[in-house]
Symmetry: none
Subunit: 199 residues, 4 copies
Amino acid sequence: MGGTMDGTKQRRRGNTRQRIQDVALELFAEQGYEKTSLREIAERLDVTKAALYYHFKTKEEILVGLFEDLTKPIEDLIEWGRQQPHTLETKQEIVRRYSQALSDAAPLFRFMQENQATVRELSIGEMFKSRMLGMRDIIIDPDADLTDQVRCISALFTMHAGMFVMQDIEADPEEKRRAILEVATDLVTQAHMGSRRTP
Amino acid sequence: MGGTMDGTKQRRRGNTRQRIQDVALELFAEQGYEKTSLREIAERLDVTKAALYYHFKTKEEILVGLFEDLTKPIEDLIEWGRQQPHTLETKQEIVRRYSQALSDAAPLFRFMQENQATVRELSIGEMFKSRMLGMRDIIIDPDADLTDQVRCISALFTMHAGMFVMQDIEADPEEKRRAILEVATDLVTQAHMGSRRTP
Amino acid sequence: MGGTMDGTKQRRRGNTRQRIQDVALELFAEQGYEKTSLREIAERLDVTKAALYYHFKTKEEILVGLFEDLTKPIEDLIEWGRQQPHTLETKQEIVRRYSQALSDAAPLFRFMQENQATVRELSIGEMFKSRMLGMRDIIIDPDADLTDQVRCISALFTMHAGMFVMQDIEADPEEKRRAILEVATDLVTQAHMGSRRTP
Amino acid sequence: MGGTMDGTKQRRRGNTRQRIQDVALELFAEQGYEKTSLREIAERLDVTKAALYYHFKTKEEILVGLFEDLTKPIEDLIEWGRQQPHTLETKQEIVRRYSQALSDAAPLFRFMQENQATVRELSIGEMFKSRMLGMRDIIIDPDADLTDQVRCISALFTMHAGMFVMQDIEADPEEKRRAILEVATDLVTQAHMGSRRTP
DNA sequence: CATGAATGAGCGTTCATTCAT
DNA sequence: CATGAATGAACGCTCATTCAT
C-alpha cells in the first residue's frame, strides 16, 4: 500500500512482470481484450513481444494472473461470509466490504463487466462465475421467494455496474459509491425482511 | 416504413438480407462480435463472404441494421414517455413497457450487455448511450437526490442484466421476468416517493 | 494424356491451385517441409500468403493434395495386385509397374524419403504407411521366412531410395532405373523361390 | 563402450555435456531435428536454455558432437577396409562389422535416415556423405557393372533402413538383424561374383 | 444477385541466440 | 557453471475488405 520507507525499491529491472500486468490491465479495460494486441502492450513498455512470452505463457495467462491477484480479497470475503451467521448485519457487512473490494480493483471489474462475451470463453470465466455464485449463496436465503432473490442479485449487479454506468453523472466518485452502497444495502435488507415476513 | 400495411417487406426471394441479420445476431449473441467472423456467417448461410458485401457495406453495418430494427420500439417508448406527465403511474408504465421491449429483443440486448467494450467503439455505442440517457430522463426526476438516481439506474440495469444473469436459476422465464419487473418497479417507485419526501 | 489440340487451355488465371502445388512440391523436395515457409511459396508465385489460404486450408493440406494426386496410380496398382494370383510373374509385373510409378512421381517420393520424421506426424504419414503395407502384402508370401521377407522389403526400398542415392553416379537416369529394377526384381524372385524351396 | 582403459570419461559432476547429448539424441530421433527445440531439451534436463549454450555454441553443434562421437567406429572401419585386399571375405567382414556399428548407434542412424532433408543442409550432411562414399569404395569394385553397383548400394541401404522399416514385424530384433545382414551379405556376394563373371 | 480470387494488415506464438550477472 | 531477461526474425494463420466477372 506504499507505506514502506523505501519508495525506490523497484528500480528499473526485475519489475517487468508487474509492469506488463499494469499496462495490460489498463489496455484491456480501455479497449477490451480482443482489441488489445500483444504488440500494443509490448510497445507501450518498450520491449518486444517476445519479452512478454518470457513472463507469461500466453495472452490469456496475463489476464489470469491479473484476475487471481486482484480478486483475492473477494475470495477471502466469501470465505469469511460462509463462516458467519446469516443475519441481516452480516449481509450488510458483506455488501459494505464487497463494495470496497470492487472499488479497489475497479479497472478489472470494469473489464469483466464490459467483456463478458470474451470472458465467458476464457478460463477466468469459470472462476468468475464460481465467485459470483459464492457471493450469491451468502446473501441470498435459500428459501427466499423469487422477487427477493432478484433483489439480492440486483444489489450485487448494481455495485458491479454502478460505477461505470454513472461515469457521466456529476458528483464526486466517493459520494457516488456511497449512494450505490446505500441502494444495494436497501435491496439486501428488503430481501432479508421479505424472507422473515412469511411465517 | 414502420408499422405500415405493406406486407411485401420480406418477399419470397430476396430475403437474404434478413437471413444474414438473423444468423449474425445469433452468432454475435453467442460468441461476441469480434469472435464472429464474416466467414462464419457466410458459411452458415451457405453463401460466399462476398455476398454479404452485396447487402451490407461493412461488418459493422450488419450490426447497425440489427440495432436500428430491433430498438425501434424503445425509441418509440421514449418518444411517448417524453410527452407524458412525470407521474408515478407514467413511470411504472414505462418500466412495464421497457421490460417487454427488452424481452422482445432479448438476443440483441444480451449482445449489448456482454460486448460493451466492443460496442463502445462502434457507431451503435453512441446510439445506445443516447437511448439510455433518454430512458433515464423520463424516469429520473432532475432534482432527485443521488441515491434515488441510483435506484432508477439500478432499475433499468436490473432489467437489462436480469435475464442473463439468472439463466442458471430454476423457475420459468416468464415468472422470472415478472419478478424482475416487480423489483424494477419497486425501485422506481421508491425513487419517486423519495423525491416527494423532501418538501 | 495431353493429346488434346488446345495446348493453351490454361492461360493465366484459374490455375493458381495447380501452380501452388507445383511450386510447393519443388520446394518441399528441395529443402524439406519445415524449412519451406508459406511466405517462400507465395513469393515465388508472386501472390500473397493469404492467397494460398484461399486454395488450401492449411500448409499440411497442400501436401495432402499433392500426395493424393500423385499416389493415385500406386493405389490403383495395389488394387490390381490384390486381384491377381500371387505368381512370380505377377510379382515381377508389380515391381515393374511400381518402379514406373515411383519414377513418374519422383519429386514426391524424394520428399517422402527425406522427410520421414516430419511425414510421420502428418496425416499423410498414415496414408503412406498403409500404402506401403498394401504393397508388402502383395509381394510378400505370408509364410515366407524372415530372410525372404527382408528381401522383398529391400526390393521396395531399393526402388524408393535408389534414384536419390545414386544421383552422383555417372550413367544416364533411365539406365540407372533399369539397373535398380533389375536388382529389385532379382530380390523378389529370390524371395519367391525361397518360399517354394522348403516343402 | 569403446573398450578403452580410460575410466574418467564421464565423471560425477560435469557430465552435463553428456546428458545434453543423450537427451538431444533421444528427442531428435523421436521427433526430428527441426521439431525439437532447445527449450524442450533444456526442460527435460531441468536446466535453462542458456545452460546449453555454455556447452555448445549452437544447436547444430550438439548434433555435430553426437555424430562425431557415434560414427567414430565407422570411420575406423573404413580406414581398416581401405588397407585390406578387396577380396570377397574382406567385403563380407566389412558388411558384418558395419551392421554391428549401425546397431550400436541405432538412434543416430534412425535420425539420419528420417531427417535427410534437414541433414543435407547441416555440416554433418557432408560428413555423412563422405563416409557413405568411403563405404561404397571399399565394397564396390570400380569396374563392376551398374547392376552390381546397385546391389552394393542396396546392401548398405538395406542395413540402414531395415531396422526401422521392420519395426512392425513380429520376430525379435536380433533375429531381424541377422536376416537383414544375410540379405546384405548376399547382395554384396552376388555383386562380387558378378564382377568376376565377365571375362 | 452473387461468386471466385485475391489482398494487406495484423495476430498470437515460437525459435535460436545473446549477454550481463 | 549457470541463470534471468530479453531480442529479432520468422512462422502459420485469420480477418475484413475489394473487385472483375
